[in-house]
Point group: C2
Chain length 390, copies 2
């Protein structure tokens, strides 16, 4: 019997992944770059237990049992077992034991905060720990959820698209660790939204099939932007970093809109946030804030530590919290300063509650094993300690 | 003394114009194609009076005096006078007389319904009538407002980008007249919107300067789509016409979004309308409705006469009118049929009033002179009959 529990971070792409060249192996059409967010504020947590007593692989996700027949889950466990068997040679009895997995996010899945990336990264990392698998795990996590491969390291991470047909060279690697740019801060703006979401998997696939602009983006726009982004990160040139981050977010959403039928992820509040950022930067004469949006309406803002108080103060003025929301800013503690004095900034203020709440966090490290007697999500029988009755 | 009054139509592009290669001459980066809408429902009306008694060129637009020093207005009057002088030879005394112009739209300018296109087309057409100018007027109207050149003819009109530096070959020409596809109907959906608008002139210019995707659109996407659109119109292939119209609208808005800072014209209601159209078409198994959006949130739907009753009925179910709105559907009379029976169609219904009202119209003819003693907007002294006190 063996039980391990790990946590893994969320990552936010600043050069976006949108479009696969191989659906089954999850091989992307372009390189992408992300920042790994601190696990202090947001993480997935996974407990893996391997036991000769188990009769079946089982999985509980956020308190609900899910099927391991999901092909992406099945691929991850199969690949880990294959590696474990290769390493163990003939003594591979342990590899044949069944596994119980229990996983939770400490943030709402519905918030659309790249929960699958953290989840798959945590699953693969935990399975690897349980089975004693060494070496690159990113090419396994990638097959669970593409962007999960970028959650296996801290700091700033590049997922190389690779060129091999089998995807062996489509792996993620750290560009700069979490101490490279310690002033970098992140605000996740959770936006009110009523719409039904187009899944990123199906939106992406349709974009590849129908968008005339996506082909141009992946071939002619992203390669140079990736180089420029690495240089901006290396130089810690925030102005340039912000410009590239903003442009790449809009380029991705442009290609999603150019899809037939269109895949629309940003809503009026998202666009109002983007507008706020442009006005704020214009007022400062230099880019102080960057925004990026994934396949949902929530904004992710990047900014430097010294600018957080005034940006948060200005944000609260333009997007007043709902009167009943008592913890509008969560995460890292911060003193809000009065809003910037600029009449041009305030288009509104908008009605209250358009932004539900803000998570204040920073760039952090990769997954890690957590120790202690009470950290596990499974009990000694391999059953979840917390189950939602169904 | 000479007084003429003319009316000119609105046009709606199905292949969009977005981006100039010459700002001053208003030369576009690609061909565009539009449908001219019937003047019965929407038109600009302009009275031009030329008199030796006038001391100054004067202009009243929707009841407010405007300056003729506006360079675009100045260009139009200068070009007309140049042509008139060329035609009149030495007897050009009349050409030197000053002009009074009064122009009105019979629809709200604020509705963002391409009012400048109808307005400049009407101005140039009326001036030409007053000064007896013959020949192509589209290259003059184009210098007032690019898309105005497409309002000088009825039916379906193509604006050729041309290749000459002086713009002489950047003219609009009729592809098919208004009787070619008599079943074609148009619904203008006027959408509630609170946002401040980015002008299309400045949005377009920024797109040319900053959008990586626009270059690809104008060079590699629009040329083939233009050919396909002409063929679809020729064959009266509605399914294909709708696909091309929808794709081109989204492609244009994608490039606007790819601009730095982004130019966002569609809002949540616009996207909900697009979603409604895709659901409706999917339910029918064939494209019954096309949507297109200009530089604003209002939708323009194309559909065939036989489908209007059910589409309107379905639209009213999904987007309920505001209870106080007593004439939700205006223009051509129509019987609404019950909504389509399809649970998938109705995402909502949305809160009432998201669509303010609908104008039901059809493809129509070009500008024309209107006769009669009481048609003029100027009195015998050359002053507007209706002035808004300022």
């Amino acid at each position: 019997m063996s039980m391990v529990t790990c946590i893994a971070p969320v990552n936010i792409a600043v050069i976006k992944y949108w479009g696969k060249r191989n659906e089954e192996l999850i091989l992307p059409l372009n390189d992408s770059i992300s920042a790994t967010l601190s696990t202090e504020q947001m993480h997935a947590k996974t407990t893996v237990m391997v036991s000769s007593n188990f009769t079946k692989d089982k999985l509980w996700l956020n308190g609900k049992e899910e099927s391991f027949e999901n092909p992406r889950l099945a691929t991850c466990i199969r690949e880990i077992r294959k590696r474990a068997a290769e390493a163990a040679g003939q003594q591979s009895e342990f590899v044949k034991y069944k596994v119980h997995v229990c996983s939770e996010n400490n943030f709402p899945t519905a918030a659309g905060l790249a929960s699958s990336a953290a989840g798959y990264a945590c699953l693969v990392y935990s399975l690897a720990k349980a089975y004693g698998v060494e070496g690159d795990l990113t090419s396994i996590a990638r097959q669970g959820s593409g962007s999960a491969c970028r959650s296996l390291d801290g700091g700033f991470v590049r997922w190389r698209m690779g060129s091999k047909a089998d995807g062996k060279d489509s792996i993620a690697e750290q560009l700069f660790d979490e101490d490279h740019w310690p002033e970098m801060r992140v605000l996740i703006l959770v936006v009110n939204d009523a719409r039904k979401k187009v899944s990123s998997t199906s939106g992406m696939q349709l974009s590849v099939e129908t968008s005339d602009l996506l082909k141009h983006r992946v071939e002619n726009v992203v390669p140079q932007r990736t180089k420029d982004m690495i240089e901006a990160l290396k130089q810690k040139d925030f102005h340039k970093f912000a410009e590239l981050t903003i442009k790449d977010s809009n380029s991705f959403h442009a290609c999603a809109l150019d899809t037939y039928p269109p895949a629309v992820y940003m809503n009026d509040t998202s666009h109002a946030i983007a507008d706020f950022v442009h006005r704020y930067n214009k007022s400062k004469g230099v880019n102080k804030v960057a925004y990026t949006f994934d396949a949902g309406p929530n904004a992710c803002l990047f900014l430097l530590e010294a600018d957080v108080p005034e940006v948060l103060g200005s944000l609260e003025l333009v997007f007043p919290p709902h009167p009943k929301e008592k913890s509008f800013v969560r995460g890292l503690p911060v003193q809000r300063l009065p809003a910037i004095q600029d009449a041009e900034l305030v288009q509104g203020p908008h009605e209250s509650g358009r932004i539900k709440y803000v998570i204040h966090t920073k760039v952090g490290s990769g997954p890690r094993l957590v120790k202690g007697s009470d950290v596990h999500l499974l009990n000694d029988e391999g059953l979840p300690k917390n189950v939602i009755s169904q």
